[in-house]
Each structure stands twice: as structure tokens, then as C-alpha cells.
């Protein structure tokens, strides 16, 4: 497509503007707000929007505040047509198209719009138009060229393919994709017709179930038939079973009656036998009673005989007992007499012993009295001697005390030694003392001492004050000694010692006498001896007075004792005799008692026998009064006869029952009952089973199983056919889609090289001969190499990115220009390029403009000055 002219009226701020485009490069230069971008806008609205459009973007082109129609008219060439296409928007809306060239055509209104729209969709790659468009104010970036049919076709041609890729090819692959997507998901390739698969499987399952049900139904039919036959058979058999049971029951009842009769007669027989047993027992009892009476009577007679004999024995034994008793009594009398003599002899002996004892006491008493007299004499002497051992000891003690006191006083007192030059009379203290010539006389001055040389001299000696107490003690001891001397009647220790010795001798005599006395008296007291003497005297006197005359008393104790011994010997002998006689008597007494006891026992037995005989006799008589012996015998015979008769009957019945085999008959009856019962139950079960089967068959019939089966079969066949056809179509769609994609991808790979060559051809003008690019499968530039340095596109400067983006568009426009192509609009670009790059970019644009239509809009005068072949149009208000 080539744009030739553009005319705008009342379009935004443009009142009227006509522009003629060059086939190569057209440079529209003008200041901001002059309406450069409105040119692109007007062309796009013309090709896309109906004149009736009320879209915001359409309304916005109406001049502000003016109710005017906005007119746009474009003259362009495409597919051999030269077309003038005009629309008025917002006011006086209209659309006209005038076609000239291969045919002349004038269309207006909607048909004009649709005719142009169809032509453009078929002949112009409008997507590429939009893609190549460099709009004002937008940062120029890489464009996605891979979706461009025109560019692909162009690349295809340049790549040397046998046929060019057509728009139809892309439509075809779209259709193939749609077909593919009818059966599969685009991304995952999953099957979409799973509902059909599921429905087929469900129907298959349903059919299998119905087939199973039908088979079950057929089984039920067979079972129902057999069950019905079985029910019929059982219904036929049951009455026969019941009849047989009835007959066996009747037979059994008869047997039961006979058995009952047998039992009854057995009971009767048992009763009779019991009665007979009782009768026989009665007879036996009565016979035994008679025997008992007889036995008792015989026993009684025997007892009487034995009693008489025992009585004789008792008499004899009693006599013997009496004899023994007499002998014993005699011996006992002798013993008594002898014991009297023994007593007298012992009394005599005692008397004589007491008499001897009296004499002894009297002698002792005499000795005691003698000792008492001597003792009293000594005691009297002792009482006259005042110095005893204790007094002597006290005396010695006092003398020692005095000596000690004197020694202490002497030690403590001032010693005064008087040595006489001549004999001198002195009075020391109160004591006149004669001192011989040369005699020294020492004094211990313990107290104030007055020494007087009579008439010549008085000397007063005073001891120290401490000696006063010692002197006092000495004086006190001396005083006490003097007092004791006075008390004892002695002058000195010698005389005191002599007296004390005398006293001691006397006291020893006293002690000896007392010892003798004690020895004689031992534990007795004199008074007690005196009392015993008195008592013995009286006793002896009394005994003598009271003693029998005979036998005469023994002369002395010895004789008396001999008498006693002799009597004791006699007594011992007599006692032996007595004991023997007593033993004999006891034995006889026992014998006699035994005989007597035996006699009494026999008498008691005899009495008991008699009593028993009487009782038995009474009982027998009583029984006989109730039933005589003869009657009892008759009763026995009668019962025996009845029992015999019944046994005969019982044997007959038992024989009959044996013949009829009761056990077997019971088994037959049980079997008949069981058979009838089992048949009844079986019939009921079979009838129930039949009812269930009939119900199931009826239900199945009502459900129309066959029709359901046919319907399911039909559905399955149809679903299988549909599924098979669907799968076939799906596989075909997949095959086609995959094959087309495979070849398209392969073709796209071939496109890259021409695109790369075109970009690099233009880029060499801009960047120099070392310029190279790498193109990705989506036809985007991934790397740029310059002077051997390779950078990714993202690493390039903004200016370089913009330049590469322009070069890519120019290359694409060049490639598609060979097949009509689309005009390339560049609105206010290259703002980031330096003057050198503007220069070289101008050369590249000019080179591209030789083969494609390029329309550049710019507000910067001179930016595109180096586009040598540009047709410059300065836009003015």
C-alpha cells in the first residue's frame, strides 16, 4: 500500500490541510501542536471506524466548540487499485470510496466502509502497520514481527522459498488450530472429548449391568420354574404325608392306650403286692410276737431258777463274811487294848522323861544362881574403879593435847633462859623456884610473865600478842586434864593406867561369867527355866496322881522305853493280822455284793421279762381282736391269687406290645411327623421363594428390561461410532496441526537470515562495517556486535536501542515493500541520538526509502536533514 494524499478538514485544531506523500521518504516538519500526530490518527480512524461511530476517540477529533463535521480523505494504492477514501465524522457523517485502476467503482456509506475494510484485511497487513508505527511520545522498543504475515511472506520470498507464504496459509493454520482445539487443549494437548469417552464407558457399564440383570432374570425364570414344580410336588406330597402321620398317630395312640393299661395294671399289681407284703409282714410279725412271748416266758422261768441259786450263794457268802467280820473285830479289839497299853507306856515314858528334865532344870538353875552371885561381886568392884579404858584414853588424849599446846606455846613464845650465877630464889609467876648455881632455867613466855627476884628484882616478861591464844589453849588443856584427874581420882597417867587395868580384869571376869551363864541358859531365860520347872513339877505330880495302878509304872526311862518298844512290836504284828483279815473281809464282801448284784439283776430281768411278756401278750391279743390269725391267712391267700392273675394279664399285654414293637412304631410316628413338618416348612419356604421370584420377574417385566437393554445397546453402538469418528477426526486434526506447526517453525528459521541481512545492511551505514546482530526465533534482536564487542540488547544505551528499533522497522518495511507493503510512520523519534548518529541514521532511512514508503513527523528542524531523498513538507498553522 502506498499513501498518496491526505486531506483533513475541521480535524482537531486543523481547519484544513492537504498533504501529498512521496513514494519514498516524506518528512513532515512542524512545531508542536501543529497537528502532526493528527495525520496518523486520521488515517487510522478512516481505516477502522464507521462514520457513525460515537467512540470517544472519534468524538475527540471534532474541533473544540465547533459543531462541524471532521473530514478525512486519503488517496492510496493497493493491489492495483487507486482508491480515494473519505469519511466525515461527528457531523454530516458520510463515507465515500472511489476506486480507479483495474476497475472503477464508487461506493458510499457502510458498503463503502466494508468494501475498503475487506480489501485492507485481504491485501494489507494492518497488524504490521500498527507494529511498524513509531508513535510520538512512546519509547521506541523492539517490535514483535514474528506475527506479521506480510513480513513472513516477504522473508519467505527473500529466503528463496518456492512459494510465498500467503495470508491464506495463516488463515489455514488458524483454522487447523481451531480444529485442533475442538479436541485438545492448546497448551497441554489434553483430550477434550472426555465426556464422550466417559459416556461410552458408562453406557458400556450400564449395558453390562443390564446384561447381567437379564442373565439373572433368565436364571430366575429357570429357578422359578423349578421352584414352581417343587411347590406343586410338595403340595401334592403334603396331604399324603399328613395322612401317613395321622395313621401313625392313631396306631401310636392305641399303643399308648395299651401301654397305659399295662402301666395301670402294673400299678395295681404293685399295690396288691404291697398289700400282700404287708399281710405277710403282719403274719410274720404276729408269729414273731408269739415267739417272743414264749421266749420271754422261758427266760422268766430261767431267771427264777437262777434267782434261787443266787439266793443260796448269797446266804453262804454272807455267812463267810460274818465270820471274817468277827475275826476282824476280835483283832481290832486286841489292837485297841494294845494301843491303850501303848499309850500308858508312852505316858510313863514321857512322865519319866519330864521328870528327868525337871531335875536337869533345877540343876541348871542352881548353876545360874551361883554365877549371878560371882557376877554381881565383880560388877560391884568395877563400879568402884572409875578409870575404864575410855577414861584412860581420854586422859591420854588430854595429856597429848596439853603437850601439843605446850609445845606450840613454847615455839611461839619468847624463850627466856635464866642462868644462875648463883643460887637464887625466884618467883616466877606465882611459883617460887630455886635456881642452883650454874643452872639454867628456860622459860617459854607465852603470856605475861612476872619474874621476881624477891626483893631484888621484878621482871615483867610480855610475849608477843599471838602467843596469847596458844597459852590459853595450853591452859585450857591443862585445865581439862586436871578436871579429868579429879574426876578419875588419879594424879597421873601411871595411876590411871593401873586403875584401868584393874577395871579391865574385872570386866573380863564378868564377861567370862556371862558367857558361862549364856552357855548354860542357851536361849532360855532364867525365868523360863523357872516356869518350866514349875510346869514340869505340876505335870509330874498330876501324872503320878492320876495314873492307874496297873500295870505298875516303870522304874526308869529305860524300862519305860522298853515297854513302849515291846508294845509297838506287838502292835505291828497285830496290824498285819488285821490288814490280812480286813482284805479277806473286803474280798468276801465284794464276792457277796457280786452275788447280791447278780441276784438283783436277775430279779430285775425276771421282772422285765414278765413285763415284756405281759406287753406282748396284750399286743398279740389286741391284733387278734382286730384280725384273727385265720382271717389273716385267708387275706394272704386272696392277695396271692389276685397278684398271680394280674401277672398273667400283664404278661399278655407285654407280649402284645413286644409283638407290636413300640420303639419301632414310635420311630415311624416321629418320622411321619417329621416328614409332614419338614414338607410343610419346605413348602412354605418354596412358596416364599416362589413369591419372591414371581415378584422379581414381575418387577423385571414391569421395568421393560429388554427395552432398556436394547436402548443401552443402541446407545453404546452410537456412542462407540461417535467416539470412533471423533477420535479419527481428533487424530487427523492433531496430525495436521502438528505438521503445519512443524513446517511453519522450520520456515521461520529460514526467515531469520534475510531479516538479519537487511538489518545489518542498514546498520552498517549507521555503525560501521563491523556491525552485526543476532536474531531470535521470535525475530527480535538479542545481541549487537560492534568492533568485535557483543552486547545484549538490554545492555545497550537508550539511543542505541532506539536506533536498532528504527533499523528493524526499516528492514521490515523494506522486506514487505516488495509485495505492496505498508507505509512506515516515524513520529518524533531519534531524540536520543547524537548528531553523528543522526547523520548516519539519515543515510539508513534514505536507503530504506528507496524501496518503501516512509513518513517521518518531527518537530525538530534538522534532525532528519541527512535523509537525502526526503520530501520535506513544512507544516504551518
Amino acid at each position: 500500500m502506498r499513501l498518496h494524499k491526505l486531506s483533513l478538514r475541521n480535524w482537531r485544531g486543523i481547519q484544513h490541510r492537504d498533504i501529498e506523500f512521496d513514494d519514498g521518504v516524506t518528512l513532515l516538519e512542524g512545531p508542536n501542536e501543529i497537528g502532526k500526530s493528527s495525520i496518523i490518527e486520521a488515517i487510522q480512524l478512516l481505516f477502522s471506524e464507521l462514520d457513525s461511530s460515537n467512540k470517544k476517540q472519534v468524538k475527540s477529533v471534532q474541533p473544540a466548540g465547533q459543531d462541524l463535521g471532521s473530514e478525512v480523505s486519503v488517496e492510496f494504492s493497493v493491489a492495483g487499485y487507486r482508491i480515494t477514501y473519505a469519511k466525515t465524522y461527528n457531523k454530516n457523517r458520510s463515507t465515500t470510496v472511489h476506486i480507479s485502476g483495474t476497475k472503477n467503482l464508487q461506493e458510499t456509506g457502510r458498503s463503502a466502509h466494508e468494501w475498503v475494510a475487506k480489501l485492507l484485511s485481504e491485501q494489507v497487513d494492518m497488524d504490521l502497520w500498527q507494529t511498524l508505527l513509531v508513535d510520538q511520545g512512546e519509547q521506541i522498543s523492539q517490535i514483535k514481527l514474528s506475527s506479521s504475515v506480510s513480513l513472513a511472506q516477504a522473508l519467505d520470498n527473500v529466503a528463496g522459498a518456492t512459494d510465498a507464504t500467503s495470508l491464506e496459509d495463516e488463515t489455514l493454520i488458524s483454522a487447523a488450530q481451531r480444529e485442533y482445539e475442538r479436541y485438545f487443549t492448546l497448551k497441554t494437548g489434553r483430550i477434550k472429548y472426555t465426556e464422550l469417552i466417559d459416556a461410552t464407558e458408562q453406557t458400556r457399564t450400564r449395558l453390562a449391568e443390564l446384561t447381567g440383570t437379564m442373565q439373572q432374570l433368565e436364571q430366575d425364570q429357570n429357578q422359578q420354574k423349578m421352584t414352581a414344580q417343587e411347590v406343586e410336588r410338595l403340595r401334592m406330597a403334603l396331604p399324603q404325608m399328613q395322612e401317613a402321620e395321622q395313621k401313625e398317630t392313631q396306631r401310636w395312640q392305641k399303643l399308648q392306650e395299651k401301654t397305659a393299661a399295662l402301666t395301670s395294671k402294673k400299678q395295681t399289681l404293685a399295690e396288691i403286692e404291697n398289700q400282700l407284703t404287708r399281710t405277710l409282714e403282719t403274719i410274720q410279725s404276729r408269729t414273731a410276737l408269739v415267739t417272743q412271748i414264749h421266749d420271754q416266758q422261758n427266760a422268766s422261768a430261767q431267771f427264777n431258777h437262777e434267782i434261787e441259786s443266787l439266793k443260796q450263794n448269797l446266804l453262804q457268802e454272807s455267812k463267810t463274811l460274818d465270820t471274817l467280820n468277827s475275826g476282824l473285830a476280835q483283832l481290832q479289839d486286841e489292837e485297841k487294848e494294845l494301843r491303850s497299853l501303848e499309850k500308858l507306856a508312852r505316858a510313863d515314858l514321857t512322865h519319866l522323861e519330864k521328870k528327868t528334865q525337871l531335875t536337869q532344870h533345877q540343876k541348871t538353875l542352881s548353876q545360874i544362881e551361883s554365877i549371878d552371885r560371882e557376877l554381881n561381886e565383880n560388877l560391884s568392884a568395877i563400879s568402884n574403879i572409875p578409870v575404864d579404858a575410855q577414861a584412860l584414853a581420854a586422859y591420854v588424849q588430854l595429856e597429848q593435847t596439853l603437850a601439843v599446846a605446850e609445845a606450840k606455846a613454847q615455839v611461839a613464845s619468847t624463850t627466856l633462859t635464866l642462868t644462875a650465877k648463883k643460887a637464887l630464889p625466884l618467883i616466877i609467876g606465882d611459883q617460887p623456884i630455886e635456881i642452883s648455881e650454874g643452872q639454867a632455867h628456860k622459860f617459854s613466855v607465852s603470856k605475861a610473865l612476872h619474874i621476881e627476884l624477891p626483893n631484888q628484882l621484878d621482871i615483867e616478861v610480855s610475849p608477843p600478842e599471838s602467843t596469847a591464844d596458844l597459852a590459853q589453849q595450853q591452859q585450857q588443856a591443862k585445865t581439862q586434864l586436871q578436871a579429868l584427874q579429879a574426876e578419875l581420882g588419879v594424879a597421873d597417867l601411871q595411876s590411871a593406867t593401873a586403875l584401868a587395868r584393874q577395871r579391865s580384869d574385872r570386866e573380863a571376869d564378868v564377861q567370862q561369867l556371862k558367857s558361862q551363864q549364856q552357855k548354860i541358859l542357851q536361849d532360855l531365860h532364867t525365868s523360863e527355866i523357872e516356869q518350866q520347872i514349875d510346869r514340869l513339877t505340876k505335870t509330874c505330880t498330876q501324872y503320878v496322881n492320876n495314873r492307874v495302878d496297873t500295870p505298875s509304872p516303870p522304874a526308869d526311862t529305860h524300862i519305860a522305853a522298853e515297854n513302849v518298844r515291846q508294845i509297838e512290836q506287838k502292835l505291828t504284828r497285830l496290824q498285819t493280822q488285821i490288814d490280812r483279815a480286813r482284805g479277806e473281809y473286803k474280798a468276801q464282801e465284794t464276792t457277796t455284793a457280786g452275788v447280791k448284784q447278780a441276784l438283783e439283776s436277775k430279779i430285775a430281768q425276771n421282772l422285765a421279762a414278765k413285763a415284756a411278756t405281759d406287753a406282748l401278750t396284750v399286743s398279740l391279743e389286741s391284733q387278734r381282736q382286730k384280725r384273727s390269725d385265720a382271717s389273716l391267712a385267708d387275706l394272704k391267700e386272696e392277695q396271692q391269687k389276685k397278684a398271680a392273675d394280674l401277672r398273667v394279664e400283664l404278661d399278655a399285654i407285654a407280649e402284645d406290645l413286644t409283638q407290636q414293637n413300640v420303639d419301632a412304631q414310635k420311630l415311624l410316628l416321629d418320622n411321619a411327623t417329621d416328614s409332614a413338618h419338614r414338607t410343610t416348612i419346605e413348602l412354605r419356604q418354596q412358596e416364599q421363594a416362589l413369591a419372591i421370584l414371581n415378584d422379581r420377574l414381575e418387577t423385571a417385566r414391569a421395568n421393560g428390561l429388554h427395552e432398556l437393554l436394547v436402548k443401552a445397546e443402541t446407545q453404546l453402538v452410537q456412542l462407540q461410532q461417535e467416539l470412533s469418528a471423533t477420535q479419527r477426526r481428533a487424530e487427523a486434526a492433531r496430525k495436521l496441526w502438528e505438521t503445519l506447526n512443524h513446517h511453519r517453525d522450520a520456515a521461520r528459521q529460514a526467515y531469520l537470515q534475510p531479516l538479519k541481512q537487511h538489518i545489518e545492511a542498514l546498520g552498517t551505514l549507521v555503525f560501521g562495517p563491523t556491525f552485526q546482530v543476532e536474531i531470535a526465533e521470535d525475530w527480535s534482536i538479542t545481541h549487537r556486535t560492534l568492533n568485535g564487542t557483543t552486547l545484549t540488547f538490554d545492555d545497550l544505551s537508550i539511543g542505541a536501542k532506539e536506533q536498532l528499533a528504527i533499523l528493524m522497522r526499516l528492514a521490515a518495511a523494506q522486506l514487505v515493500a516488495r509485495q505492496d507493503g505498508v507505509p512506515l510512520f516515524i513520529d518524533d523519534a531519534l531524540g536520543f541520538s547524537d548528531p553523528q548518529k543522526l547523520n548516519t541514521m539519515g543515510a539508513a532511512i534514505a536507503a530504506a526509502g528507496r524501496t518503501c514508503q516512509i513518513i517521518i513527523l518531527t518537530c525538530a528542524p534538522g534532525r532528519y536533514a541527512n535523509v537525502g531523498n526526503a520530501h520535506l513538507i513544512r507544516l504551518t498553522p
Binding site: A164, E168, L172, A176, A700, A702, E713
Partner: protein, 363 residues
């Protein structure tokens, strides 16, 4: 299974026509002043039918103006689950009679005629029921019609089957005047049996399968005990089942196919299964597909018998010109073409799809 060919809509029509066929038979009976109607077995497809089907059938039979005698056959034997024992049949109209045993049936207006049925009691009889009956019959001067079901030994491939009807014994009985007409059921094609002209299969009143001969008929029988026995087939239904093998090698064959399809009357009651043989290009194959697609809208059923079809589809130069593919699309075309020629059926289908898509694309 025949109805599996039919769409749901056609299946409903088929079922309805089978009911309406009863009314048609009744109308024919009235028009030809028939005294009664016998149905020689397989009145129903099965004993396991819905009450609705039974009720509708009985309602249709109720409208028939003459007595109708129904014989239990192998599909609807008089077994313990027989449809003839259902409550619906217990309350059926007075003109409906089930030949449940071999006792003679008579109708008042024909005192010299008796009808004896030979019903199937089970699906698998253990003997020739017809012969069993005949052995009990005496010669009669009355007109005796026996209604039986099953295959005759003359036509059966398995003559050892116990229930096979021994034709000779029937013909002998005919000669002995033990019976004067044997109305047979089971075979869906209207067929005379033997030389007596008194033994007939009436055929199915409504065709049910592709291999039936002269179906859709009933027999109008004029009969007496002596000499008269005229049998006239009368059309009842219009259902047709056609199996066809078609050669397709070019446009002429397509035209013949179209013409053949066009001339078939009553298409909505016609089921066709067709197989193709030949070698065609894509354009021809596409045209064949179009013919089939269009015709499928008209017929009760039109199915391609894939199992029997041997149609080689090979792109021709005309096809290539026709599709006018370029670039990668052409490369894809060539690859598919080669695979199809090497016998890849999926590639062949893909090629046909590509051809169709290319033609359906706006140009």
C-alpha cells in the same frame, strides 16, 4: 441391534410405526373383510417389555375390528415370565386371544373353522411341537388352521435342532386333511414353504433388518377345506433397510450415488449401510463426504460400513492446484501426502481435513 443404526429420533419413529402397523393391519382386515387375524409368534420382541409397550400394543390390537389370535413364539414364549400372563393381558380386549395351548379356537361367524395354535412354552423346545400336534389330530371336514412358529427343516441350516418343523409331516397332514393351512412365524421374509401352497411365513409386518426379503407385509389368506387357498401379500409398512456397496472412482460415480440416494422414497423410514471401494482424489473424497453429510440429514440412518470400505484417497495435481498452498503449508501438505501414500490413515484424514479447511477458509 438393527435399531442401533437409527438415531434417537428415527428410533422413536420406528417404534411408533410398529404400533401403527397394527392399526394398518386392522384396516386391511376390514377392507378385505377378513374374518380374523393370526399372528404366528414373536408378537413381542421379548417377554421383558415395559408396561407402556404392552399397553400400547394391546390398545392398538383393541382397535382391530376382527378377532386377533396371538401365538407365543421363541421371543415371547409362554413361560413363567410370559408377557401373555401379565395383568395387562388378563384384562385385554375381547377380540384378543392368546393361543396358549393346542385346544381348537372357534369364532361364531365361522362355525366350520377352527384355529389351533402351537405355542412355545419355552425358548428352547425339545421337540417338533408342530409334529407333536399333528400326531394328535384327526382328519376333519372343517377348515382347520394351525398357527405355528419356528424354522422348517427345508430352510434351516441346522436340521438337527430338536424344535425344527418337519415339513414332510406337515405336508402329509395337509394331504390327510388334518389341517388345511399352516401359518408360520419366525422368518421375517414373506415366504411360501413346500409345494402345497398352504404353508406360509407371513414375514415381518415392519421390516427390522437389512437381510429381509419382501418384508413389511401381511398375508391375506382365502381358504376353505377343499380347494380354495389364495394367499395375497399386502403391504403394511414402509420401513426399508438397505445394505449397499458402491464403487467410487470419480465424479460420475458420485453422480450415480447421488441419483441413487435421491430416488429412494420415504427416506425418513429408510436405513442404509453403505461401503465404498475405489480410488479418489481429495476433491472427490470431499464431495463424497458432502453427499453423505447431506443425505444423512434425510435418511433414518445412513452409515458408512468402515469394515467393508476400501477407498483410497490420493491427492491429485488438481487437488494441489486447488488448494494453492505455499510456504510451510505446502511443505506440510507434501509431508502428509507422502505419509498417506505410504498407508498412514491418519495422514490421509489430516490431508482431507487440510483440504476441507483450505476450502472453507475465506478466499
Amino acid at each position: 441391534m438393527t435399531r442401533a443404526f437409527l438415531s434417537e429420533e428415527a428410533g422413536v419413529r420406528f417404534s411408533q410405526d410398529r404400533i401403527e402397523a397394527i392399526q394398518t393391519i386392522g384396516a386391511l382386515a376390514k377392507a378385505h373383510e377378513a374374518e380374523f387375524i393370526v399372528v404366528a409368534g414373536d408378537v413381542f420382541e421379548s417377554n421383558q417389555l415395559s408396561r407402556q409397550t404392552v399397553t400400547r400394543t394391546l390398545d392398538a390390537l383393541r382397535t382391530v375390528p376382527v378377532p386377533v389370535f396371538l401365538l407365543p413364539g421363541n421371543h415371547d414364549p409362554l413361560d413363567n415370565s410370559s408377557i401373555f400372563l401379565t395383568e395387562e393381558f388378563q384384562h385385554a380386549a375381547a377380540n384378543i386371544h392368546v393361543l396358549a395351548d393346542t385346544r381348537p379356537h372357534r369364532i361364531p361367524q365361522c362355525p366350520d373353522l377352527e384355529i389351533i395354535g402351537v405355542p412355545w412354552q419355552t425358548k428352547h423346545p425339545s421337540r417338533d411341537l408342530c409334529r407333536q400336534l399333528i400326531d394328535t389330530l384327526e382328519s376333519t371336514e372343517k377348515t382347520r388352521i394351525v398357527v405355528a412358529h419356528g424354522q422348517v427343516d427345508e430352510l434351516s441350516p441346522d436340521k438337527a435342532r430338536p424344535e425344527i418343523i418337519h415339513l414332510a409331516s406337515v405336508e402329509k397332514a395337509l394331504q390327510q386333511s388334518k389341517l388345511h393351512f399352516l401359518a408360520l412365524g419366525d422368518r421375517h421374509s414373506t415366504t411360501p414353504i413346500g409345494d402345497s401352497k398352504r404353508i406360509w411365513y407371513s414375514g415381518a409386518p415392519v421390516s427390522t433388518d437389512f437381510d429381509e426379503v419382501a418384508p413389511n407385509q401381511v398375508l391375506l389368506v382365502s381358504l376353505d377345506a377343499d380347494t380354495v387357498c389364495e394367499v395375497e401379500p399386502l403391504n403394511v409398512s414402509q420401513w426399508t433397510f438397505i445394505a449397499r456397496h458402491q464403487h467410487i472412482n470419480g465424479a460420475e460415480d458420485l453422480r450415480q450415488l447421488s441419483a441413487w440416494l435421491d430416488q429412494i422414497p420415504n427416506k425418513q423410514r429408510t436405513a442404509i449401510k453403505i461401503s465404498f471401494e475405489g480410488s479418489v482424489d481429495l476433491a472427490t473424497a470431499a464431495a463424497l463426504d458432502k453427499i453423505m453429510e447431506d443425505a444423512q440429514l434425510l435418511f433414518a440412518s445412513l452409515k458408512t460400513r468402515e469394515r467393508l470400505t476400501d477407498l483410497q484417497v490420493t491427492p491429485s495435481s488438481t487437488d494441489e492446484d486447488d488448494v494453492a498452498l505455499s510456504g510451510y503449508a505446502r511443505s506440510a501438505w507434501l509431508e502428509l501426502q507422502e505419509a498417506a501414500q505410504n498407508g498412514d490413515p491418519v495422514a490421509e484424514d489430516a490431508l482431507r481435513l487440510l483440504f476441507r479447511l483450505n476450502h472453507s477458509s475465506p478466499s
